[in-house]
């Protein structure tokens, strides 16, 4: 798809009609409160606002364009459509979670603009109590959770 927003816009306000009220409020808040160390001068600040507006407008247009694509049946949370940078659009989603002590086995996925879905299993090792270390009993429970997640993934047909 091609996005409908104006790539020649020079200020974010030229794109305001293509944004939701929440997106406009977000950018207006950013406009009032430049981020120290990031919005180092007025021009850089304005470029950041315009870039955010273009990204929002592109995602909004993609949402309308791909409105007929069914959401993944196991999705608990779906992100907006994003341009992958090569003209291809996709949206990421969260699937099921299995919690073992402080370890979580996630099924996460990506749906592309042609409706195809690719899922993977992730173990949230960054939430381990000690950076990936666990007792043997937790390791066995985690193994059970991984086997269950693998069965679910196969059942969904990847």
């Amino acid at each position: 798809m091609t996005t409908t927003h104006d790539d020649n816009a020079t200020t974010w306000r030229e794109l305001a009609d293509a944004l939701t009220p929440q997106q406009v409020a977000y950018i207006e808040d950013w406009e009032r409160k430049p981020i120290p160390g990031f919005d180092n001068d007025h021009r850089a600040h304005q470029r950041g606002l315009l870039s955010a507006a273009q990204e929002f407008a592109g995602s909004n247009a993609a949402g309308a364009y791909y409105a007929d694509i069914a959401q993944p049946p196991d999705a608990s949370k779906i992100d907006v459509w994003m341009d992958e940078g090569d003209g291809c659009w996709s949206r990421r989603f969260d699937g099921t979670k299995r919690v073992v002590d402080n370890v979580t086995v996630h099924i996460d996925g990506v749906q592309t603009g042609d409706g195809r879905i690719k899922r993977t299993i992730l173990v949230a090792s960054n939430t381990f109590g000690d950076d990936g270390y666990m007792p043997a009993a937790t390791a066995r429970q985690l193994a059970s959770a991984l086997i269950a997640a693998a069965a679910e993934l196969d059942g969904l047909g990847l």
């Binding site: 666990m134 043997a136 993934l153 196969d154």
Partner: protein
Amino acid sequence: MTAATTPDVPVPAGARPDDWEDDSPFPYRVLLGECRGINGVDTDHVSVQPTAIQFSDGRVDDGSVHEPPHVYLADNALSSSQARELAAVLIETADEVDGWASR
């Protein structure tokens, strides 16, 4: 700090010991077991390895001083077959580290 003396204690089967460290009540060393991976995935991305602390009297710390034996997991995104393989490796590593703890 490395221990001034080198205690003469046996290494649990399958373990690779690090240097002795001076500490109270006992000098200790870190034990590392086999780093297990899964097919088709670099161990930099997915690996499972047993670890434990051994004291200079030969005992393996049960967690009352430093930490109990652990299974260490480093991971990345997995397919279903890779997840099953990782599950098998986790169980195998848990068995090994439990074997150390029972000494």
